[in-house]
């Protein structure tokens, strides 16, 4: 018994040390993000893109919206996309064999007719059943295809698209009117040397939406949704801002990213055998860039925002987090040969190891910590002081960076207009350690198990429709 207790205490101390390392890394990320946000925080929001609004040089863009059973959200999403400021673009909704009325709603609302548009078969996909074009807004297209999953739908959209850049967007998201211009700007400024850009995803739940655009920003009432507001702020404003500085960024969210089509085709399109197709593609692009000794970059820009509806129940959130972590596991598995290989520079030596040791392994270690803490205290096999130290670290880790992210948002972007919005976000951050974090940790570990058992699905989030608010 004494030996077991000794071992468990040492395990607990190792876990505490592991979290001190994470806290140090996140602190560095925070400082990097702070520096960038501080520098740019007072810049006029419209002046930098003024030239691009009507410029003939602004690269034309194909917006691809993969949709599966999105009958509620699809029309408002397309209507919202029609109101964005962008000189030349087309919208391609890819109905991935929906069982509901996704296609019918599109056809009825936009007066669509059959189109004989020429298609290039860059990437092999499931068969296209038909292509329709709107008669009222001719740059809106609908592609009906056999079910093949989100990645297959995106690949199909790439084949149908006619412009050299495409934007992958989720079917139940609202993009701010200048967001695509802001996201395209680094690509134009670099003369095409930036091949992928992504903006920030924020939580639309709780916001007042009118005619496909966000009219008033407000934090949601639902506890799961509000915790995700904090989650998203932390992931984007701390993690991605700092990663992008060194071209180490491994994720561009599936909900909102612009890609140079040529490079995606060279990479073989989205991989259909993973549920984390967005991250997997970005890692594959990094791999291709490094293997071909190309200097192109992948960048994240914090200012352009796409608002998305997030799960409000434990059941759906659990599915989503499981899927995300399964995707992460699969991506790491596919690209394990990049790990610690100098050939892949920062991506192989730093960011991929970071994703393995911190993002992927983190939940496993954390779960172990929770189990040890509870079991240890119940059965008295770990010392009280070690347990307390573990709790303090967990609390520190759980709240510090959540609150820091809220701070960064307020310093840099001020999207939440009322003081009580900030108080609400702050106070909820303090509760994270006690319920939200243990739950998401558990679900992420389940994701690893799912990856081993290889389960695939689109996710069945019950949509209320972001534009119905």
């Amino acid at each position: 018994m004494e030996t077991l207790s000794l071992i468990l205490n040492w395990v607990a101390i190792t876990i505490v040390a592991y979290f001190f390392v994470i806290i140090t890394i996140y602190s560095m990320f925070f400082l990097l993000a702070l520096k960038k946000i501080w520098k740019e925080k007072d810049i006029d929001p419209h002046e930098p893109i003024e030239d691009t609004i009507e410029s003939v040089d602004t690269y034309p863009l194909s917006i691809i919206v993969p949709a599966y059973n999105e009958e509620i959200g699809i029309v408002p999403t397309v209507r919202s996309l029609l109101s964005i400021y962008y000189p030349e673009y087309e919208i391609i909704v890819v109905d991935d064999g929906s069982k509901d009325e996704t296609s019918k709603r599109m056809i009825d609302h936009f007066d669509m007719v059959e189109s004989s548009r020429a298609i290039r078969n860059h990437v092999v996909t499931k068969e296209i059943v038909g292509i329709c074009q709107s008669t009222t807004v001719p740059h809106v297209f609908l592609v009906k295809k056999e079910n093949g999953g989100k990645a297959d739908a995106l690949n199909c959209g790439i084949n149908v698209s006619k412009y050299p850049y495409f934007c992958a967007m989720d079917a139940d998201s609202i993009i701010e009117r200048y967001a695509l211009l802001k996201t395209m700007k680094p690509i134009m400024d670099s003369d095409g040397n930036v091949i992928v850009t992504g903006g920030t995803i924020r939580v639309a739940n709780g916001c007042k939406i009118h005619r496909g655009s966000i009219e008033q920003v407000s934090p949601p009432k639902n506890p799961f949704a509000i915790m995700q507001v904090i989650d998203y702020l932390r992931a984007f404003l701390i993690g991605r801002i700092s990663m992008t500085r060194f071209n180490w960024l491994l994720i561009i969210s599936g909900a909102f990213g612009i890609f140079q089509k040529e490079w995606v085709i060279k990479a073989g399109g989205y991989r259909t055998t993973t549920v984390g197709e967005d991250m997997e593609l970005v890692v594959r692009l990094h791999r291709l860039l490094k293997e071909s000794k190309s200097k192109e970059r992948i960048e994240y820009i914090a200012d352009p925002v796409c608002w998305t509806e997030v799960p409000t129940t434990a059941r759906v959130l659990r599915k989503q987090r499981k899927r995300w972590h399964q995707g992460l596991t699969e991506t790491i598995f596919y690209h394990r040969k990049m790990l610690f290989r100098p050939k892949y520079k920062g991506v192989g030596m730093v960011s991929l190891p970071y994703y393995v040791l911190i993002e992927w392994l983190g939940p496993v270690i954390e779960l172990l910590g929770y189990v040890l803490l509870v079991a240890g205290l119940l059965f008295g096999v770990i010392h009280l002081e070690v347990a307390l130290l573990m709790f303090a670290v967990a609390f520190f880790y759980g709240t510090l960076f959540s609150i820091s992210a809220v701070l960064l948002e307020e310093w840099g972007y001020k999207r939440y207009p009322k003081p009580w919005h900030l108080i609400k976000l702050f106070l909820w951050s303090f509760t994270e350690t006690f319920w939200y974090r243990p739950l998401t940790v558990l679900w992420r570990v389940e994701g690893i198990i799912s990856a081993i058992r290889r389960k695939h699905d689109w996710g069945d989030m019950k949509r209320k429709g972001v534009s119905s608010g």
Partner: protein, 350 residues
């Protein structure tokens, strides 16, 4: 370390964390409250100032600029309002009044901001000097460009060059000639801001233009669609760089004038697919029927999809284009030829 020590340490840690975080929260909430109050006050002030501004801008009624000069909030309101007026009005005399007022009321603010240590202050000043064409600040804008520059282009340097170009400072010509690594898009942004006389000066300054600047010039010429620079574009068709040749073809396509159609044959048979594609577009645009056979060959057998697509489009421009495309559709064994020709048949020809 004994238990009590650890307990104390943990308690202190949690206490410090909570204290720091609550302090930050209080600070943020107070700042937010103050910011909102300031915005409210600004809105009220705006409601008072804007009618006077409006009368001055729309009807040229005199405005006492002395009244507008006394605080930062007022200057911010004038800046925002004038910027909005610039987006709405396009009549010369109205715009001149906006510029004049900006020069009088905002000039000193921007001169100070240009010296600020904050990057965003300097950038905002540069944007507004450009918008309001405050030419009297050109030396201050130029002073921020390093003497040996421009070697590398950061955002601020780019904006300084844009601003100088907007206020027609000739020194920008010398600077952009030295920019070997600048993007074509950026150089076009500069050239679009410059008067035609400066464009002529660049063209006549010699044939040793850096390739990006050469490409940008061709692009801007094609946008303006003027005939006066046709000799420069024609000479560029023989440039060593393929990008320059392709851009020259595109410029001629856009201007709508191809002085010597015989030269097209060379490009239709080029090894470079972009040259074949652009040449095919020209053949269609000017309905050069002597090249129909070449176009048919391109549709049937070119390896590049875009060339086939452009040649097919070119054929659709001819009066008998539908017949030729239908023939190709029915007789070709290549699936992509069928798809492309079908696409142009369904869209209808000339």
């Amino acid at each position: 370390m004994d238990k009590i020590m650890i307990l104390k340490l943990v308690s202190i840690m949690i206490f410090i964390l909570l204290l720091t975080q609550f302090s930050l929260m209080i600070y943020m909430v107070i700042s937010k409250h103050q910011l909102n109050k300031r915005e409210e006050r600004k809105e009220k002030l705006k409601a008072k100032i804007v009618p006077f501004l409006d009368q001055y801008i729309r009807n040229n009624e005199p405005i006492q600029t002395r009244l507008l000069n006394d605080n930062v909030a007022k200057k911010e309101i004038i800046e925002e309002s004038l910027n909005q007026y610039l987006r709405i009005f396009n009549m010369d005399d109205t715009i001149d009044r906006i510029y004049a007022l900006a020069e009088e009321v905002l000039r000193d603010r921007y001169a100070t901001l240009l010296k600020s240590r904050k990057w965003s202050d300097r950038m905002n000043a540069l944007y507004f000097i450009e918008d309001f064409k405050i030419t009297s600040l050109k030396d201050e804008v130029f002073a921020g460009i390093p003497k040996n520059a421009p070697v590398s282009l950061d955002e601020e340097l780019k904006q300084r060059l844009r601003t100088l170009a907007s206020i027609q400072d000739k020194r920008v010509l010398g600077l952009i000639r030295r920019l070997n690594k600048a993007s074509v898009i950026f150089l076009k942004e500069i050239l679009r801001r410059l008067d035609q006389a400066y464009i002529e000066e660049l063209i006549s300054s010699g044939s040793d233009l850096p390739v990006p600047l050469h490409l940008a010039l061709l692009s801007v010429i094609s946008e303006k669609k003027g005939m006066e620079n046709i000799p420069f574009v024609e000479n560029s068709l023989e440039h060593d760089e393929e990008e320059v040749r392709i851009q020259s073809l595109k410029a001629l396509l856009s201007i709508g004038y191809f002085p010597n159609p015989d030269r097209l044959s060379h490009f239709l048979h080029s090894d470079i697919w972009a040259e074949r594609m652009t040449a095919a577009k020209i053949a269609g645009r000017f309905k050069l029927s002597r090249f129909k056979k070449d176009l048919v060959v391109l549709v049937e057998s070119d390896k590049e999809w875009w060339v086939q697509f452009a040649a097919s489009e070119a054929l659709s421009k001819f009066t008998d284009g539908d017949v030729i495309l239908s023939y190709l559709y029915e007789n070709s064994e290549r699936q992509n030829v069928k798809e492309i020709t079908n696409h142009w048949i369904s869209l209808g020809g000339s």
